[in-house]
């Protein structure tokens, strides 16, 4: 594994050798099991521009389609007014439409059956809860046939998600019209909305709670711990992504993407990976303060 890391990191090899061979950059207790952590971005500037930060997800999936690693990708595309919608994508160029984060619910897994019905191997991009759902479907495939054909799961770091109406309400409270939004981002503890006139509107993440989807309060998974590979921007320098590679297949794919000059990499030391750990930990402890902690089943013998 270290060998592959060296190969991936390339010229940074020297800094990796010797000194801290046993030290792992991230605590698996917090971010789940993984093989390697990298800082990456798309080599193609066009992809980077369309993407949220480094465009890693888009570039990696386009590479997977190009190489025939998968036949189709299930991802969320942006419709009018920033409303996301899941779509099955087979053309790498079409992936650009799916690039960038959308801050409301896109039921990506709802298209998985259709994708599996039509294709021999499928990749799915999703939030941590969606990746958990796919893994559950693979282990208990009650109604979903051919789940073995899910060849790649790409998880996106996620603190919380919004129902579309609540996103509109949030923007309204920020005095922003959804049609004027150029870009949305969660970065450095803030929800940042950039409008078309170049202005930046921000809200601290802490205040998002009342707008977010309630089920997110109970979620303990920040980094999509069950994905083949998880991508996010937290802890990465501007314009870069943190890439947590968890399985062998994903590792091979990332490696081939680097070799084919689709992704460029950087030494993880240049980022601030502590932030990933911190947000993971926050999410794992948040549940204790949520409504969930007081949730009880209804039962005739138990007063409400």
């Amino acid at each position: 594994m270290r060998k592959i890391l060296r190969k991936l990191v390339g010229k940074e090899e020297e800094t990796e050798t010797g000194t801290d061979g046993g030290e792992r950059p991230l605590d698996p207790e917090l971010v789940g099991e993984y093989r390697t952590v990298l800082l990456t971005r798309a080599t193609d500037e066009r992809v980077r521009e369309a993407g949220q930060d480094g465009g890693t997800t888009t570039a990696l999936l386009a590479h997977a389609l190009d190489e025939g690693h998968v036949d189709a990708v299930v991802a969320a595309v942006k419709k009018n007014g920033w409303k996301p919608e899941p779509r099955i994508i087979t053309d790498p160029d079409e992936l650009i439409e799916a690039a960038g984060s959308k801050y409301s619910i896109s039921p990506n897994v709802s298209l998985l059956n259709e994708a599996l019905a039509a294709h021999e191997s499928v990749a799915i991009v999703g939030t941590p809860c969606q990746i958990t759902a796919v893994r559950k479907a693979q282990k208990y495939p009650y109604g979903l046939p051919d789940t073995d054909a899910v060849a790649l799961t790409v998880g996106i770091f996620c603190t919380e998600n919004f129902e579309y109406d609540n996103l509109l309400a949030l923007l309204k409270d920020m005095n922003v019209d959804i049609d004027d939004v150029e870009r949305m981002d969660i970065s450095k503890g803030k929800f940042i909305v950039l409008t078309k006139d170049g202005e930046e509107h921000t809200v601290p993440v802490k205040e998002l709670g009342r707008y977010s989807n309630e089920a997110c309060e109970y979620c303990t998974d920040f980094t999509a711990e069950e994905a083949d590979v998880s991508v996010g921007s937290v802890g990465a320098p501007d314009g870069w992504n943190v890439l947590i590679v968890r399985t062998e297949t994903a590792e091979e794919l990332v490696q081939s993407a680097v070799e084919n000059d689709v992704l460029e990499t950087k030494d993880p030391e240049e980022g601030n990976l502590n932030l990933v750990e911190k947000l993971s930990e926050d999410k794992k402890t948040r549940i204790q303060a949520s409504k969930c902690a007081t949730w009880r089943p209804y039962h005739p013998n138990v007063p409400l």
Binding site: A117, H119, E120, P145
Partner: protein, 363 residues
């Protein structure tokens, strides 16, 4: 002379019984009926939404599930005078063919022929792929809906590959079946002298006017059969008639030719699927909007085990009246005649070959 009632395991759900008058080990007279508790499809869909009638029909019997759903959908469309896009009809035809492949292969597995199970499962896998691709699930395909199929695009490439890859195995099954049937024919001497109905293809032109449905107490003459029977039987043009693969392939010399016909239909169905998917545009429109009004319509489909007729009367978006004539309903009338003059011990093998399901009979 002795009257015997034998429960005949057919490998399909439900209980099939043969009531036989036996003399010196030879069947002189016989009646075949089912004691299975009726599902009562016709009653349970009343006052429900037409879509439920499709979903429910697919759960009558796993053998012909997709075909039953298709027949109901087509009957609803005829009642509403909806024109289904051509591509949808083609895709449905392929779906029906895939259902035929799966049903026949399963039936051959359960036969007394001792065929290569691996080969049959290879073919079943291919059929399941097609059912999944065109019907969105390999069992009880739910994409069947009034107005067409609920598909965004038609996965023609996957369908075509699946069908073509299985063809070679299907050819082998066909040869193996033919020789196995010939061997078994030497053992079981039988003749069939029956009327038949059915042509190769997807839709059949059977109408409710051609069919007479007889309640059990009017059809069965033997006391034991009368006591057991929970099923109606259907006569075509007033006669007990054979439907299904044998009738469609015109192979009616011997009851065991049902297997020969099934094996041949597996090959032909796979060819049909490959051909259809080759010509289909993946992006063709396969669904028209349906507006629920009142009306009455009927449709007949060549289901794996035989012609399946559905009549449905709609009152806006509710089912007002429904009627289903299943392949087993029709075949039950003829099954007694097929047993005649047969040695008693061969009755189970022959009834099994006819492809009766108790659940189908008492839908």
């Amino acid at each position: 002379m002795e009257i015997k009632t034998v429960r005949i395991p057919t490998g399909t759900p439900g209980d099939i019984h043969a009531v036989m008058e036996v003399s010196d080990g030879v069947i002189v007279n016989a009646e075949v009926c089912s004691s299975t508790t009726p599902l009562a499809w016709e009653t349970l869909v009343l006052e429900k939404h037409p879509e439920f009638a499709i979903v429910a029909a697919e759960r009558v019997c796993a053998g012909c599930d997709a075909s039953a759903g298709l027949a109901v959908a087509e009957a609803i469309e005829n009642a509403l005078e909806v024109q289904v896009p051509d591509a949808a009809t083609e895709a449905r035809e392929a779906l029906n063919a895939a259902n035929t492949v799966r049903s026949h292969a399963t039936s051959l597995l359960k036969s007394d022929l001792d065929l290569d199970a691996d080969a049959l499962y290879t073919v079943i896998k291919a059929a399941k792929k097609v059912l999944h691709a065109l019907g969105r699930k390999p069992d009880h395909p739910p994409a069947i809906t009034p107005g067409g199929l609920e598909l965004e695009t038609i996965p023609t490439a996957k369908v075509e590959n699946a069908a073509k890859e299985a063809l070679e195995t299907a050819e082998k099954i066909k040869d193996d079946t033919a020789s196995a049937v010939d061997d078994l024919k030497d053992e079981i001497q039988a003749e069939m002298n029956v009327e038949t109905y059915g042509e190769p293809g997807y839709k059949a032109d059977l109408t409710p006017d051609d069919v007479e449905i007889v309640p059990p107490d009017e059809f069965y003459r033997m006391k034991s059969a009368l006591e057991l029977a929970n099923n109606h039987v259907a006569l075509v043009d007033g006669n007990p008639t054979l439907v299904g693969p044998q009738a469609r392939k015109n192979l009616t010399d011997h009851p065991l030719d049902a297997y020969t016909a099934k094996a041949e239909e597996i090959v032909e169905s796979l060819e049909k699927i490959a051909e259809t998917s080759e010509n289909l545009d993946p992006n063709a429109d396969v669904k028209t909007d349906v507006e629920y009004t009142s009306g009455e319509g009927h449709a007949a489909v060549e289901a794996p085990e035989g012609t399946l007729l559905v009549t449905i009367k709609l009152r806006n978006d509710r089912v007002d009246e429904a009627l289903m004539v299943t392949p087993s309903n029709v075949k039950a009338a003829v099954a007694g005649r097929v047993l005649k003059d047969l040695e008693e011990e061969h009755a189970p093998t022959v009834i099994k070959a006819l492809g009766l399901s108790g659940r189908c009979l008492t839908h």
